[in-house]
């Protein structure tokens, strides 16, 4: 059997590796436009920030390393067409057009940066960060720059802003919505992060979109709709990504509201065509409706499901909660499930509580404040959680992910056992303090 995988990101390359783990004989070819595979795009901001020494460090495997696994990785290959009747793809490499037959085709085409309506986005000094090549360009350009603007205050935006600040630039981050990280955090939690970014010397401008980038050849300034402008030697567009669907459409795959539709086995509507990662829709565990999960972890988990599907095994990808975590400077923050406003938009009446606890026993040195917000539905079932602290956030998010997945209420979790020792936790865990507080609202 011949499997052709289009895309060398987390979804594509993991599918290749996971198929190989199960089956030694399947022919596997990965086609990617990038010159690298198996690197961690999430790590690019941390290279800029100097936390990780070089971009080379975040490449886990070189394309040629896959030869050992008998996986054929073809880099800098642009797939130009798919024929799902003849079961073949055509790609261009070094100017040559090459046709490749497949028995099973995997679309792991990911997403393309979304550029909002804006004049001047094609000026020099305006960047998107999709891959290591982009990261290197930004790092180089920053050396001769003084003022940087990051447009878009999602996860990537604030991580990049922090990285550029660490490089010594004056950094402004702008967001058209009235808060940062709007997809994952409520405004009161986001404001804790905003305060921290400002403390670190980053200028945060909320509620105003940049409409114009000005300059000749090179960008010189960025302007808001009201005409006020900020000097800028460089601009990073971190305004999100849109699924890359061209090949899927060419193959005849059914497309949903945002992306390729797949079933729980990662099969598209077209026989022998599969899809994983940023280019597919997932099901939201709480709402049941389709959603889009732009997380590397989702792509990796989907690739495991797909490898089982392709090798004829029982397989099932579960609905997602979009559990996330990040670290910006000293602050770790994470979230899972619905935000308060997203719950409201979906006709859930959220019952919400926010508490401030500590990461260690009160008397233990370096106990840090931990802000926790818990969101329940009207029956007390936990549907969301957001945490910010200098340590020990990620695993608490995981505990809450499991609690939500299991359908637990705040009352259930109040009674749960938590491990305790003074150097690593409070005798009543911050999560328990939070669910006990929200429980009181149901009395």
């Amino acid at each position: 059997m011949k499997v052709v995988i289009v895309g060398g990101g987390a979804g594509g390359i993991s599918t290749a590796s996971n198929i190989r783990k199960i089956d030694k004989n399947i022919e596997i070819t990965v086609l990617t436009r990038d010159n690298n595979v198996a690197y961690s795009p999430c790590a690019i901001p941390y290279v800029l920030a100097g936390k990780i020494k070089s971009f080379d460090d975040i490449i886990m495997k070189k394309p040629e390393d896959y030869k050992e696994k008998d996986i054929d990785v073809i880099t800098e290959a642009e797939v130009t067409s798919v024929d799902s009747n003849k079961k073949a793809v055509t790609y261009v490499k070094e100017g040559k057009e090459i046709k490749l037959d497949y028995d099973k085709l995997v679309l792991a085409t990911g997403g393309n940066p979304f550029i909002p309506p804006m004049n001047g986005s094609d000026l020099e000094g305006v960047f998107q960060i999709r891959n290591i090549k982009d990261g290197i360009k930004v790092q180089e350009w920053a050396k001769d720059s003084k003022n940087a603007i990051v447009i878009g205050a999602g996860l990537i935006g604030i991580e990049i802003a922090f990285g550029l600040k660490k490089l010594g630039l004056n950094v402004t981050i702008t967001e058209m919505l009235p808060q940062i990280v709007p997809r994952s955090l409520d405004k009161d939690m986001a404001d804790i992060l905003t305060n921290y970014l400002e403390l670190e010397g980053i200028n945060v401008v909320l509620g105003q979109p940049i409409t114009d980038l000005n300059g000749e050849e090179k960008v010189k300034s960025a302007c808001f709709g009201d005409g006020t402008c900020i000097d800028a030697d460089m601009v990073i567009l971190a305004t999100g990504v849109r699924p890359e669907l061209e090949l899927a459409k060419m193959a005849g795959c059914e497309i949903g509201r945002w992306a390729i539709l797949v079933n729980e086995r990662m099969e598209t509507s077209v026989e022998d065509v599969y899809a994983v990662g940023d280019c597919v829709e997932s099901q939201d565990l709480i709402l049941g409706a389709n959603t889009i999960s732009h997380l590397g972890t989702t792509a990796v988990r989907q690739s495991k499901t797909l490898a089982r599907t392709i090798t004829g095994r029982k397989s099932k990808f579960n609905p997602v909660l979009n559990s996330m975590v990040s670290k910006v400077g000293k602050l770790e923050f994470g979230a899972v499930g619905l935000t308060t406003s997203f719950a409201q938009q979906n006709n859930i009446k959220p019952v919400v509580e926010k508490v401030e606890a500590l990461t260690r026993a009160r008397y233990y040195p370096n106990a840090k404040p931990m802000d926790i917000k818990v969101i329940c539905d009207a029956d007390g079932r936990i549907i969301g959680c957001q945490i910010i602290a200098e340590e020990r956030v990620a695993e608490r998010i995981d505990t809450m992910t499991l609690a939500i997945t299991e359908g637990l209420t705040c009352f259930d979790l109040s009674n749960m056992e938590f491990a305790y020792a003074p150097p690593v936790s409070m005798v009543t865990d911050p999560l328990v303090i939070a669910v006990e507080e929200v429980s009181k609202k149901f009395n």
Copy 2:
């Protein structure tokens, strides 16, 4: 209503506070032999190690602070008798015998240190660590000492051994069993800790009980059964505690294999007599059988249940998993559920896997090794987990506690969503790596 609570440890004092949170009018009296309440005995080793500056720091509230809450705390009061027919207790304070009537009596009498058969345990320089007074004595005695022996390598034993080492003493820790922390860890996991203790310069002697302490007045050496001896200016007996049951027996409470029997509402067999903490038996969640849970967290959770019972509310204390965590020097270690050998002793055929993962992305600075052991029953249901690493252990134990409580299998957990960012986790979480590995044993 008059509630009398015997014992000012975690179980007793928390019961008082939790009753007061629910009801403003109940008369509450706490009787304790100690001169302090509301301190954290788990923190004593960390004061010795110099991590926490002074014993004063670990006292959360002074006895007189409870006046504000209208809770009468009587310290240095030895309760000498209970009459459950007349509903009264007698206690001695400053030589005077005082009788106190109750409507409801709470026994939170805790445990007494267990001293194994051993000559010379009454010599000067031989200590047990039950409370702050003991901690201060040990700290003082250590100033003029060179060689210390800690007998018993449970949690407290190794924490104290590490503390004394930090004070500059030569420290030997001895354990009659062939491994340290036998109650919570499998031998291969315990050996990781043993290696670390030895690296820190602590002498660890396993599989041999100390039978004799020698010296005139003051202890001078400790000897094993085979006649070999070690010099010792001080000896700490960390050989466990036994529930204090005298008053419970006097009251006529039914006693189980080890401790007072209570139902899920924390009621003893005697009307209007309740018990919490180290002096009661709990139910083991996995085995269904009774067990003993010497954890402050268990006492605190029981006190919440009991406060609801006493104030006439719906209440239920759930079976326990004895989830624990500790930190010795740089190493954090935790465990939940059954060890491999304890499972075998209970006729469960464990399926076990141990993996070594990392606490952060491989390329991220300061990624530390994380050893994880997962124990399943023959159907793949998770029944135990042990973790050792320099960071981020406690919350992973909590996730596993929830997984075990919910009856999840290793296959279920393999599919679960975990939050990821390079500075705080691996793209496939160490827990997922562990449950995937153990899952393979079922193919």
